[in-house]
Symmetry: C2
Subunit: 162 residues, 2 copies
C-alpha cells in the first residue's frame, strides 16, 4: 500500500474513480454529465499536484493538492479526494488526507481549506472534524443534492502552523 | 450613465480598471504581477457575463456574473466588481451590485455568494451588508494583505427568492 505521485499511466484508473462520483452528483459541485476529458482536465488542472493511493497494483483513491487562491491567498492549500466506492470505510480517505496535510506542510502552506463540503456527506464531514478541521462557514442551500434537494455546504479549515 | 454588457471594445478600459486593483493586491486573491492577458482571461473567463458602468462615454466600473459552482452548485450566482479608484465613494459599486442582483434573478439564480471578501476591505463589507448580504463564513487568516499581514476573508450570501 502506498500513496505516490500520479503519472500519465494513472489517467484511466483516476477516471474510473472520478466517473461514479461525478455521475452520482452528491459530493462535488460538478456537472453530472462531465466527459472523461473534462473531468481529467478538472482533476489535473494547472497548479494541481496529483496523488494516488495504490494497493497491490490497484488504484483505490486519488487526491489533488493546490493553492486555494492566487496572490494574497496562495499561502492556503486546498485538496479534493476521491475513494473507490468498493473500498469505502477502510480509512483510505483518512490516509490520503493525512498525507496531504504533510505534503502541504512540506510546501510551507499555513493552512488547509475545504471550500465546499456538502453537509449531507456526513462521512466526510465527520472525518475532517476528526482530523482537526473546523467548520468556519455554512452556506445555506448552496448545493442541490439529487436526493435531498437544497442542502448546506460547509467551509472547513485547519491551521498547519502557528 | 448606464450599466451595459461589455463588448470587445471595452477590453482596454476594463484593463485600466483591473490593473491598479491587481497591483495593489488588497482586495482580490490574484497574483500582483498578473499580465494584461491573464487579467482579461480571468475577468472574461468562459461562463462569465461582463458588464460595464459607463458615464459620459467613460468606463468607471465593471463586474462579472457567473454560476458560483457547476452541477449541484449552479443555482448560485457569484460576482466580482471593480470601480475606478478616482470614482470611489460615488455609489458605482452599489449600482453595479443592484444591477447584478436583478440580472441574477432574471437568470433564475436562487442566491448570490461572495466567496472571498477580504475583511479589511471595510467599504465593500459595509456595502454588501447594506444590500442585504449576510456573513455566513469567516476564514481565519486566509488573505495576506500587503499592509496588514494575515487577515480574515468573509463568505457572504444573499437569498434571491424564497
Amino acid at each position: 500500500m502506498a500513496i505516490r505521485t500520479a503519472t500519465e499511466q494513472d489517467q484511466e484508473p483516476i477516471w474510473a474513480l472520478l466517473e461514479p462520483m461525478i455521475r452520482r452528483g452528491e459530493s462535488y459541485a460538478l456537472p453530472r454529465n462531465m466527459s472523461r476529458v473534462q473531468a481529467l482536465e478538472f482533476w489535473s488542472a494547472p497548479g494541481h499536484e496529483i496523488f494516488v493511493f495504490e494497493e497491490s497494483g490497484v488504484i483505490l483513491g486519488t487526491y489533488f493538492l493546490r493553492a486555494n487562491q492566487g496572490g494574497g491567498g496562495s499561502h492556503v492549500a486546498n485538496c479534493g479526494y476521491v475513494t473507490a466506492e468498493a473500498a469505502q470505510g477502510r480509512g483510505i480517505a483518512r490516509a490520503m488526507c493525512l498525507h496531504s496535510l504533510e505534503r502541504a506542510k512540506e510546501r510551507a502552506f499555513r493552512a488547509m481549506y475545504f471550500n465546499f463540503v456538502v453537509s449531507t456527506n456526513e462521512r466526510a464531514v465527520k472525518l475532517w472534524l476528526s482530523l482537526g478541521f473546523e467548520i468556519v462557514g455554512r452556506l445555506p442551500g448552496a448545493f442541490q443534492h439529487p436526493g435531498n434537494g437544497f442542502v448546506d455546504a460547509l467551509v472547513m479549515h485547519k491551521r498547519l502552523r502557528e
